[in-house]
């Protein structure tokens, strides 16, 4: 298995580098702003889902409250920028660190909970944070924050004339999330996580530090998702509690990984590349009237894929790989 495994890993890395290079060239040919927008969202969801996948897919702790970290990233960046003029780059790191710290503080009591009790605890915690922000006047309460536009600049990470800088940032973020997953997959952590997911009792008896494995996964996952949230705040320049911290968003973040292949390296990216353009296209072509047809198409798709391909879309490409595991 070892030789196979390491050659597969090398191959994965090469494929990722080639795909990233191709993706970087796409905007040179695609100038349409609408399409660029979809590409940016696709990359963002790929990054978010990849990060969610670290805790929920690899380590098996199903979080349905990751919108909390996305919202924390978005709000930290937006508030620091708006109230104190702190550059978003700093806010991004601050938001990431705050989220990672909170993820560990919450993990301390929550990781003792099993299965559905854990999943519901994650929903409930995110929901408490949502309600608190909705009632926090200084942070814009339920109306949210309009991030002031101070002109195009890399320092302020604001671009009004072109979407390209956002595109490249989202691409880098997606690549970083992918690379972190790739790297951790083969590390001590990766093996611990798979052991914890498969059978925590057995893992514990073999000397795996189950609790700290979960804490590590939670911190990495929350940090990356928060950076995604910071990016989103700058990209749309308007955030409100429901759209960045709502329960729906937690599920939307998990969806690409689940449909693409939960706990797999390529699942989240593949899921995002198929799902996000489809969502956006159905929304703009048949959803404009607010009649809900887009929701019907989208929901049916989720049902069909999850029933037909429980291992996710990646299973279409690599039946061999699945067997090797």
């Amino acid at each position: 298995m070892d030789k196979d495994f390491s050659s597969r890993r090398r191959r994965d890395l090469i494929i990722a580098a080639v795909l990233a290079a191709i993706a970087a060239l796409v905007p040179l040919f695609v100038k349409d702003v609408y399409v660029q927008n979809i590409m940016i969202l696709t990359l963002m969801y790929a990054a978010l889902s990849q990060s969610w996948n670290i805790l929920s897919g690899y380590c098996g702790q199903i979080s349905l409250g990751h919108a909390l970290y996305f919202g924390l990233g978005a709000y930290t960046t937006a508030l620091l920028f708006m109230k104190f003029g702190v550059p978003p780059w700093f806010g991004m790191i601050a938001g990431g660190l705050i989220s990672a710290a909170i993820a560990m503080a919450l993990g301390y009591p929550c990781f003792r909970l099993g299965g559905h009790y854990f999943a519901i605890a994650t929903i409930v915690i995110a929901e408490i944070a949502l309600l608190l922000i909705q009632n926090w006047d200084w942070a814009g309460a339920a109306l949210g924050i309009d991030i002031p536009v101070r002109g195009d600049s890399w320092l302020k990470f604001q671009f009004t004339r072109s979407k390209l800088p956002y595109f490249y940032f989202a691409l880098v973020l997606a690549c970083v999330a992918w690379f972190v997953t790739w790297w951790l997959e083969d590390s001590k952590w990766g093996f611990w996580w798979r052991a914890v997911k498969d059978n925590p009792q057995a893992a514990e008896s073999l000397g795996v530090d189950v609790f700290n494995s979960k804490m590590g996964a939670a911190a990495v996952s929350a940090f990356l998702v928060a950076v995604g949230g910071s990016f989103y705040a700058q990209f749309v320049s308007y955030i409100d509690p429901e759209s960045v911290m709502g329960f729906q968003f937690s599920l939307l973040m998990a969806l690409p990984a689940v449909l693409g292949g939960i706990g797999t390296l390529w699942g989240p990216a593949l899921g995002a590349v198929i799902l996000i353009p489809l969502t956006e296209l159905t929304r703009s072509y048949i959803g404009g009237s607010g009649r809900g047809v887009d929701l019907i198409v989208y929901g049916s798709l989720i049902i069909l894929i999850s029933l037909a391909l429980p291992r996710g879309l990646v299973s279409l490409f690599s039946s061999r790989k699945g067997a090797a595991r």
Partner: protein, 292 residues
């Protein structure tokens, strides 16, 4: 804050809690039977409320009379959803938990979309009914009639359910299937039939609560979402799968919500429920009445 206001809000919290229990019990029943959390539970409530509304709007049937009809319709609907979707989700050989979550989440989105398409996003309400807007005064405490009747219906439904599970053949088949879905085939119980009936029964119970909710709550495509979260918390608080736990969990949720509303602004009233859930599971990781 006088003693009177406190008693008053605890009383209405208790009534609302009994209704929450009724909303949630279907979820608990299905979970206990087959380990599946239905993420479209709120949407089941939503269509029950719409059904009640349309029976009122087109045929002038009072919600109290249409409640059994709505429950029967939801029974059929729930059984169909099991046969058409959930049955296949349970066959998943990998990631069974996630497949079930997202298959039912997809269903929730489809149902919301259909509601927007067919019923428009407008807010509807049952404008006049036998109970709507009336209150009774018991020993100086004013209780809204819809909630009072709802609470009584809930108690009756739980009593009926208790009798049903413990005293009827189907109830015994349900219990047996819950304990060992593989072994029941040996004694001639068709697992799929029991599961379909379980889904029907769970949906019928949420249908009953939807008919009552329609009397005093606005009806719109997303109405299920807020109640669904309360229902998950209620079920988890009581201990997943325990029908009695859902009853107790509902009462706790109702009382906590009413108490929170006394001390915090109304928009924060759910914070109390969520905090109590966390507190309970941190102390008892399987809820109040879950098996350890």
């Amino acid at each position: 804050m006088t003693t009177e206001t406190i008693i008053q809000s605890l009383a209405s919290g208790l009534l609302m809690g009994l209704l929450y229990g009724l909303i949630a019990v279907g979820l608990a029943l299905i979970f206990g039977l087959m380990d599946v959390v239905n993420f479209a539970h709120g949407e089941f409530l939503m269509i029950a409320m719409y059904a009640t509304f349309f029976l009122f709007a087109f045929f002038a049937i009072d919600p109290l009379l249409s409640a059994p009809l709505v429950a029967a319709a939801l029974f059929v609907f729930g059984a169909l959803i099991y046969l058409l979707i959930v049955r296949f989700a349970m066959r998943a050989k990998a990631n069974a938990g996630m497949v079930q979550i997202f298959a039912t989440f997809g269903l929730a989105i489809v149902m919301r979309g259909l509601a927007q398409l067919l019923f428009t996003p407008d807010y509807r309400s049952v404008t006049h009914s036998w109970l709507g807007g009336k209150t009774v005064s018991i020993a100086g405490i004013f209780l809204p009639e819809p909630q009072l009747v709802g609470a009584l219906v809930s108690i009756a439904a739980f009593a009926g359910l208790y009798f049903f599970i413990n005293r009827t053949d189907f109830g015994r088949a349900l219990e047996a299937t819950r304990e060992d879905p593989g072994a029941v085939a040996l004694v001639g119980i068709d697992k799929n039939r029991v599961f379909a009936l379980g889904w029907g029964l769970g949906a019928a119970l949420v249908g009953l609560s939807g008919a009552i909710m329609a009397v005093f709550f606005y009806i719109y495509p997303d109405v299920g979402a807020s109640f669904a979260l309360i229902a998950y918390v209620t079920v988890a608080l009581g201990g997943f799968g325990s029908v009695f736990g859902a009853f107790a969990g509902g009462i706790v949720v109702g009382l906590v919500e009413a108490t929170t509303a006394l001390v915090l602004p109304p928009s924060l009233k759910s914070v109390g429920i969520y905090a109590v859930y966390l507190l309970v599971v941190f102390i008892r990781p399987r809820g109040l009445f879950g098996s350890m």
